[in-house]
């Protein structure tokens, strides 16, 4: 005996809603941060619109105007006060900078006691101003990316200088002594040192050096397995106050950012329009759906 399927959402209503949102986006200039590659995402009523800039080399804060579906142009440079007001809409976090990879800075949480986020891994930080390894900085988190706000001027810069000097001298973590260093700064140093000395790394040592972040990191392992099942690669993830997890990963080299329920990985927001049926899928099954969607090549 078959179970009758409940009627789905009205496709015409969905199309009309999306068209109205697109018109709204076309009529109003928007303030947005833009990273290299010229892609920008704007979220309207829960739907993420991705646009490509006419100038793909542009990077920075910009006032944008949509010139065609999926394409935007920089029309003005926002004032510092406008950018500050924008950043203040997002929760603030403190990060300790590690190093740059492909012109992007990465950092770890400056404190593990932050109840709003649990940043278990190194995270990329966008549009960083003047900075150096081990600097403690402020960033704002928009749900999928961390945006540079500025240096933490209350933190003694002598600590970061001492750590940079120790790294230059290749001092082992066991021999590291920097006056005023806090545990997360030591962790940042250990991470960088381990990357430079993989021969020193055994699972036992990793567990000892990175308590709670090594092989015992159950959440990272669960997300990795969920994605690996279908051939996708975990990049990073962040937990939110609402009990969800934002996961950034790659499918066939293409980046995706998806929000899932933390406990069972049910998809809350897939980043694509699934006719409000996102929760039919979990992280693993979504990987195939994203491939199918890419195959359609239907823009937004």
């Amino acid at each position: 005996m078959t179970t009758p399927r409940e009627p789905g959402p009205d496709p015409l209503a969905i199309v009309a809603k999306l068209a109205a949102q697109e018109r709204e986006l076309a009529e109003k200039p928007v303030l947005a941060p833009v990273v290299a590659g010229g892609r920008v995402r704007v979220r309207l009523s829960g739907i993420v619109y991705q646009m490509e800039l006419e100038d793909p080399a542009f990077e920075g804060w910009a006032i944008l105007s949509m010139v065609a579906p999926g394409r935007a142009r920089v029309v003005d440079k926002p004032t510092r006060s406008l950018v500050t007001a924008y950043l203040k809409l997002m929760p603030r976090v403190r990060l300790i900078l590690l190093d740059q990879h492909q012109r992007r800075w990465w950092g770890i949480a400056a404190q593990q006691s932050d109840k709003r986020f649990r940043i278990d891994k190194a995270v990329p930080l966008c549009l960083v101003g003047q900075a150096a390894s081990f600097d403690t900085v402020y960033a704002r988190f928009d749900g999928s990316a961390f945006w540079w706000e500025g240096p933490d001027r209350r933190r003694d810069p002598g600590v970061a200088r001492g750590l940079r000097k120790a790294r230059q001298d290749d001092v082992s973590p066991e021999s590291l002594h920097v006056r005023g260093m806090v545990p997360q700064e030591r962790l940042a140093y250990q991470l960088l040192w381990l990357l430079a000395h993989p021969e020193a790394l055994t699972s036992k040592e990793l567990g000892a050096i990175l308590p709670g972040q090594g092989l015992e990191n159950r959440q990272a392992g669960r997300l990795t397995r969920a994605l690996d099942h279908a051939g996708a690669q975990l990049d990073s993830f962040w937990n939110t106050e609402q009990g969800s997890t934002v996961v950034r990963f790659y499918v066939d080299g293409r980046e995706h950012v998806v929000e899932v329920r933390t406990d069972d990985l049910t998809v809350l927001s897939s980043g694509i329009c699934l006719s409000d049926m996102d929760q039919d899928f979990d992280l693993t099954s979504l990987v195939d759906v994203l491939r199918e969607h890419e195959g359609q090549d239907d823009g937004f």
């Binding site: 399927r5 590690l98 190194a122 430079a196 990272a220 051939g231 990073s236």
Partner: protein
């Protein structure tokens, strides 16, 4: 100095434990992973055979799995999931 590579850092911090191929089932809002060996199927089994094995495992009528999609991955794993309906 070694070039900083976040992915290498990620790999260091993540456990990689892999067993035999697994079928991931997403059905009626619930998920489970079932080793293919337990279902007595393989990556080359037909869709019909896979649906019948899953129906037996879940103790549901195989007709309830009509409309599901079966994906085969390069690593030998399988996924059974609902059909996706894309908006425009």
């Amino acid at each position: 100095m070694t070039e900083f590579d976040p992915k290498a850092l990620d790999a260091l911090m993540t456990a990689e434990t892999r067993g035999g191929p697994v079928l991931h089932v997403r059905f009626q809002g619930k998920s489970q992973d079932i080793p293919l060996a337990r279902l007595d199927i393989g990556p080359g089994s037909s869709d019909e055979t896979i649906r019948q094995a899953v129906a037996r495992h879940l103790d549901v009528d195989v007709a309830r799995l009509n409309g599901t999609v079966i994906e085969r991955h390069a690593n030998g794993n399988l996924t059974l999931r609902p059909e996706a309906v894309f908006g425009q």
